[in-house]
């Protein structure tokens, strides 16, 4: 009896903590130091396209998190079974199925959002971040680590597009999540005062500018230089 218990304890000690330092890094690295958008410059198209308002951006971010975590998990589970010669198409099939699932669920339960995001949900399939993580990480690592890796990268993507959307909606439409902010501020100051919105922020150009500023701020802090 006693030996069995001791053995079990040893096994527990050997296995890594659920959120060990290395695993935490899997999540935190893509947030700043290895951010998929600002450092790796992947997934720019959707970062530009969906970020005119906070709400669709949030739905997009959640969709990407779901797709990335599930895709990383399934590919990692299958990693020893997937024939190397067709691995890319297998990854694509898995990602495409997951994206279609998201699309169907949105269509059923959030039809307005489905209409608004339309093609952009489908375009998650071509989001280089998803395929990049599958190819670079999930194919060679255990399921749990892959989930963390996918979650981290998706989170890194999400906070960037949400930040861009924050400024674009605030400056472009004068609101946040559809709640008018500029009107409120204007009425506080006085009846003749009106904060003007900037139409440039609503167009894709606005996203480029905000994204550029974000990258600038981030790189001046981290000291990252492209080689």
């Amino acid at each position: 009896m006693s030996t069995e218990v001791a053995e079990k304890e040893a096994a527990v000690k050997e296995s890594e903590a659920l959120l060990s330092k290395r695993r935490k890094k899997l999540i935190t690295d893509p947030l700043v130091d290895d951010n998929p958008i600002t450092i790796q410059v992947l997934g720019i198209c959707s970062a530009l396209a969906v970020t005119t308002q906070m709400q669709p951006t949030l739905v997009m971010a959640l969709s990407v998190i779901f797709v990335m975590v599930m895709a990383n998990l399934s590919i990692s589970l299958l990693r020893n079974k997937i024939p190397t010669r067709v691995r890319i198409i297998v990854q694509l099939a898995v990602v495409a199925s997951l994206v279609t699932l998201v699309n169907e669920v949105l269509k059923a339960f959030a039809y307005d959002m489905y209409k608004e995001l339309s093609v952009f949900v489908g375009l998650i399939i071509t989001n280089c971040i998803v395929m990049g993580r599958l190819e670079a990480y999930a194919l060679g690592n255990k399921p749990y680590d892959s989930i963390l890796d996918g979650f981290g990268s998706a989170l890194g993507y999400s906070w960037i597009i949400l930040t861009v959307a924050f400024f674009r909606e605030l400056w472009g439409s004068g609101s946040l999540f559809g709640i008018p902010i500029f009107d409120g501020i204007s009425s506080l100051v006085g009846p003749d005062f009106q904060l003007a919105t900037n139409g440039l922020m609503v167009s894709p150009v606005g996203a480029f500018i905000i994204l550029g500023l974000l990258i600038w701020v981030q790189r001046s802090k981290t000291g990252y230089v492209e080689h």
Binding site: K81, I82, P83, T84, R85, V90, L101, E104, A108, Y111
Partner: protein
């Protein structure tokens, strides 16, 4: 490690079957919910022609369904303006007519749904008539619902939707400030000619004095032209019906 061809083919087949089953299963389960969502969306669009977007977004789905039931009556007409009850032996209702499918037929063969916005509980006390319109934008189809007051000349309101116009450019036809521009405009000139309402090229001018022009969409001229063509052609198609229902038209008394 190089796998054999047999292994690769087997793997691919299994993967395809599993993913296929997963997707078709989900689609099958979600279909009824999706259909309801679509119907609700259509009702919202129809009501959008006579109500403000804020009013509609403040209503719950059940409220919209109830409101639609009590305030909208519908019929289907043909190009002659005669009411149609059945086609090829199948009963037709305005809600089931697919305007997009009909758009592919010749105008004479199409079915034209009409939605009447009426006083609560009295289907004869029409407030406005809502006509679906359908056409081509820049990339894909565009459609909408045009509400005319009972004089069949003044626009009560309009909603547009699109399948694939450019976000921020052509897709702006769905925004309510663009749709507001059509309000109170007139589709007939003073000498009774059907001139429709034309969206102009360029944006930022004030057309409030002109009953047949509305401000354009900067950077989306082709979408705007599509809208113009769509309105003009469908107003022509509905003309016979509109003549019959016009205020003071003799057939009104016969009904």
């Amino acid at each position: 490690m190089q796998q054999s061809n047999a292994y690769i083919i087997t793997f691919s087949i299994i993967l395809t079957v599993v993913l296929g089953l997963l997707l078709s299963g989900t689609s099958e389960v979600l279909k009824p919910i999706q259909k309801k969502a679509e119907e609700l969306d259509t009702k919202k669009q129809i009501l959008g022609a006579v109500m403000s977007a804020d009013e509609i977004s403040g209503m719950k789905p059940e409220e919209i369904n109830a409101f639609y039931e009590s305030r909208i009556s519908s019929r289907v007409v043909n190009i002659e303006g005669e009411e149609v009850e059945e086609q090829d032996g199948v009963q037709v209702t305005a809600e089931t007519v697919d305007v997009g499918k009909n758009y592919k037929k010749a105008p004479e063969d199409r079915l034209y749904p009409v939605f009447v916005f009426h006083e609560e509980g009295d289907a004869d006390a029409a407030i406005s008539y809502i006509f679906p319109v359908y056409g081509n934008g820049l990339w894909d189809n565009i459609w909408g619902y045009l509400a005319l007051q009972t004089d069949m000349a003044t626009i009560e309101g309009i909603t547009f939707s699109h399948a694939g116009e450019t976000p921020g450019l052509g897709a702006r036809i769905t925004s309510s400030d663009v749709q507001q521009r059509y309000k109170e405009k007139s589709i007939y000139s003073e000498d009774g000619e059907l001139v429709s309402v034309i969206m102009q090229k360029g944006e930022g001018k004030d057309y409030s004095g002109d009953p047949h022009k509305v401000d354009g969409l900067s950077g989306a001229t082709i979408t705007a032209e599509g809208v113009n063509k769509m309105l003009k052609s469908y107003l022509e198609h509905y003309r016979a019906y509109m003549e019959k229902k016009k205020d003071g038209a003799p057939s009104m008394a016969l009904n």
